[in-house]
């Protein structure tokens, strides 16, 4: 894949999103217990948006979003077998639970306490897909250029 000026395109898409005033990621932080942070990234793992829980003191952004690119690659691979399109993927670590949601070319990364309800977080795939529709369209258009 040739290098792209991802940062410039991502910030343009992010501006569109902010202008539209969508804040699904903030709503989710309030609704789901144990959720520490929500990141919306592009398929290369560049963060477009993030929302952190009020009491979250951790600053492990890089660690938390580093898997987004791996998720994009995994999603492409899995789509080729009988399981078809990945909607979400949950990784259980000892110190946290990370759920990735497929809104390709966007990836949503949810970072939560290790004992959080993974099923609940994975079930948010539909909500995020709807909320991020226009941002996804913007990023898709930018990718085509």
């Amino acid at each position: 894949r040739p290098p792209r000026s991802t940062l410039m395109r991502s910030s343009a898409a992010s501006d569109v999103y902010k202008r539209q005033g969508i804040n699904a990621e903030y709503g989710v932080l309030e609704r789901v217990p144990g959720l520490r942070a929500v990141y919306v990234c592009d398929r290369d793992g560049v963060t477009l948006l993030k929302a952190l829980a009020a009491n979250d003191k951790s600053d492990s952004d890089d660690e938390d979003v580093s898997l987004a690119a791996a998720f994009a690659v995994s999603a492409d691979q899995v789509s080729k077998v009988h399981l078809r399109r990945v909607k979400s993927l949950a990784t259980f670590f000892s110190q946290k639970l990370v759920v990735h949601i497929n809104v390709l070319p966007l990836v949503v990364a949810l970072v939560a306490e290790p004992d959080s309800n993974a099923g609940l977080l994975m079930a948010l795939a539909g909500d995020f897909t709807n909320a991020l529709e226009s941002l996804r369209d913007s990023v898709e258009q930018l990718e085509e250029k």
């Binding site: 690659v73 009988h82 399981l83 078809r84 979400s88 949950a90 000892s94 994975m122």
Partner: protein, 130 residues
């Protein structure tokens, strides 16, 4: 000592409650044992699935001390966990398979197979136990 032909029988015990296929494979994706509902389809599917799951595990587990990965896909749900430190176990079913069951079965089976497989792998016996 765990006999190799017992392995499919043990894997088969997981195939209930929504779990349709269980498989054991190396970190490089090469299958050691697989037991599933549809034998013909399984052979085609299992090799591809194990290769992809091995890649997924390699990517996600290296970010930290992952112990289980669950996937929710259009046509099914899968759970992957590590066994005996070096092998991977994947259970999958259709889209209605409950995640809790998938995770619990994967973890329980991994724990059960840990000691005997570690013994075999540790002794360098590999897959040629006669």
């Amino acid at each position: 000592m765990l006999k190799p032909k017992v392995l499919p029988e043990i894997l088969a015990q997981c195939n209930s409650g929504g779990v349709k296929t269980s498989m054991l494979f190396n970190r490089d994706g090469s299958l050691l044992a697989t037991v599933g509902e549809d034998a013909t389809a399984e052979k085609t599917n299992a090799a591809s699935v194990s290769a992809i799951m091995a890649n997924i595990w390699a990517s996600f587990a290296k970010a930290g001390d992952a112990h289980v990965v669950l996937l929710d896909c259009e046509n099914g749900r899968a759970g992957v966990t590590v066994v005996a430190g070096t092998l991977l176990l994947c259970l999958y079913g259709d889209a209605s398979t409950p995640f809790g069951m998938l995770k619990l079965k994967a973890e329980t089976l991994a724990k059960y197979l840990d000691a005997p497989l570690s013994q075999i792998l540790g002794s360098g016996g590999g897959k040629d136990n006669k």
